[in-house]
Amino acid sequence: MAMFAVLFAFSTEAMAKKSKTLKNTQKKGFVRCGVSQGLPGFSNADASGNWTGVDVDVCRAVAAAVLGDANKVKFTPLSAKERFTALTSGEIDILSRNTTWTLSRDADIGLTFVGVNFYDGQGFMVRKNSGITSVNQFKNGISACTNIGTTTELNMRDFFNSRGISYEPVAFEKADEVVAAYDAGRCDTYTTDKSGLAAQRTKMKNPDEHIVLPETISKEPLGPVVRQGDAVWEDIVRWSLNTMIEAEEYGITSSNADSMKTSDNPAIKRLVGAEGELGAAFGLDNDWSLRIIKQVGNYGESYKRNIADPGILPDRGPNQLWTKGGILYVPPAR
């Protein structure tokens, strides 16, 4: 036992040496996580400063895996404009902020996307009484409120251009200002990711007066991002997210995780740390995944708690497991 402990300590140290980010995180005692400035369901702080949301849960999962406590996270709210600079300059170690995975971002600016925790697409919101029920009814001269510095701005141009519609883009730096201006009647439509529309709708004066149009004009796979150049850290974040999704697939929840240790299914046993030594591969102990499931829950639990129960997007749509008709499909943990 003692020898194992020594061996383990040695291997942890060896791996930690490889990953500067892991070493720094363990030394600091908290995970530095960049989130949004307030997007219900994804990353939102309540009145007492507690952060909740599916994006927040990714960081909590990493904290549970690396530090043993899902609460040891320092959240930094970032605007769309600041987010990548904060990550590449080393102010944060994970960016989990409804960020779309695109080629240029992945390849160009020193970032690495580790996975997708929400499949989204850009949509439009309009006032119900306008009588518009489809984007096909948009006419020349329409004004559209949105955020700057996002893929939204580019998709919007592609969309209106391909249809030959002239439009007035009104782009704000902060989401709250976009909502305020649209709500005041400055714009005819408000466009961003559909999850964002659903979440921001809850902030409006009269949510019932607005509808989200059925069309989706783009692919927006949202997921956590890390700095380029630290492969071990990248793996830890990727597999923390994968663990949550795979746990749901095997029916492991925060409440039954301990009892699953005696399961007959080796895949389940591996996930709860009762078989194999998966954690050693990136310098963690063997209970890293068990802690994620126990402290944060599986993906389904996180979705239900943050997005479905508050009524933001009760229907999981594509964000359902592949076994249940969605497209959530992660590589096996083995």
């Binding site: 990548f84 020193g110 009588g131 700057i148 996002t150 782009a171 305020a180 005041a184 400055r186 700095r227």
Partner: protein, 383 residues
Amino acid sequence: MNNKIKKILPQIITVLFVLGIFGFFTFNAQINMDNRGIDFGFGFLTQESSFDVQFSLIEYSGSHSYARAYLVGLLNTLLVSFISIIFCTILGVIFGVARLSSNYLIRNSAAWYVEFFRNIPLLLQIFFWYYAALRALPVPEKAGPWFGVTYMTIKGYYIPSFIWTNLDIFLYSILAVIVSIIIISTYAKKLQENEGKQIPVFFISLGLIFLLPALTFFIGGVSLDFGIPVLKQLSKTSYVFEGGIGLPPELIALVLALSLYTSTFVAECVRAGIQGIGKGQKEAAASVGLTPNQILKLVVMPQALRIIIPPTTNQYLNLTKNSSLAAAIAYPDLVLVFAGTALMQTGKAIEIVSITMLTYLSISLAIAAIMNWYNKKIEIKEK
């Protein structure tokens, strides 16, 4: 010799020290960027920007380059600064003079105005004019016309557009007017100095300004049509004006906030300038028979301006820099378009931020240069 070294050595050390620090940070940034796989370069400026901008003085769409997007932002910054500087100067002079009025109500209203607008943070004022005023404005279909053909709505202020034919001939005629006015006034000055004769320069100039451009309409083939804004239905409940020029409410809110805020500081400069002229001078001027108007024009103002100009230059510079708060309310200025959207889409933070900083520096230096030139022109010429 020894003395000379003693004098120069500390200066050389200081310069080397500053250069060393600068080099250290540049070197560090380079190493860090290399480590993180970020490359440095300005090649992105020629790439297609692929985003649109709401309001632009030059033709622009997403198929233009980032360099063009930079120009759009720069022109929008210059536009809002230029308009606001004019308004804040007019308001500032009015309220500065009003603060010295002998009328109790005027004097105190002006004082209240100054204290109120200069003591509220500018960003709050911008938000106030944008959100509060925006909500108070009517939607397009309910907006009644102002002056017959303009419409103030929540989506902007719509005015008729000018459709010119042979605009160049018209512009040449204006140029000709300016040149001839300069010639006439120099001639008039000479005439007065040499023979003591006065000719009515003002009325001649006024006549020229109206006559010459008007002539181009009759014989130069110049004509002007107006594009009147027309209401158009977008959907069951939303409308927009088409034709004419739409000034975005963001521009209007920004101009209002910037000029009201800065005018208070200009007013104080004006008051300081006028109060800086001794009472005795005015009394002396009156005693040699100058009229009150002449006293103001020939005695007080030339001296007061010398006190007013330098601090007012500061205010103009502040105003221009403050215009970068535009980003908060979606006015597409340099910061929003270039240091915002373009930075985000390219990820070239260091390049774009340095270009933006250099641009503001150049604008400020240009304003300072113009004001310094004017200041030199009006300062006492020792003979």
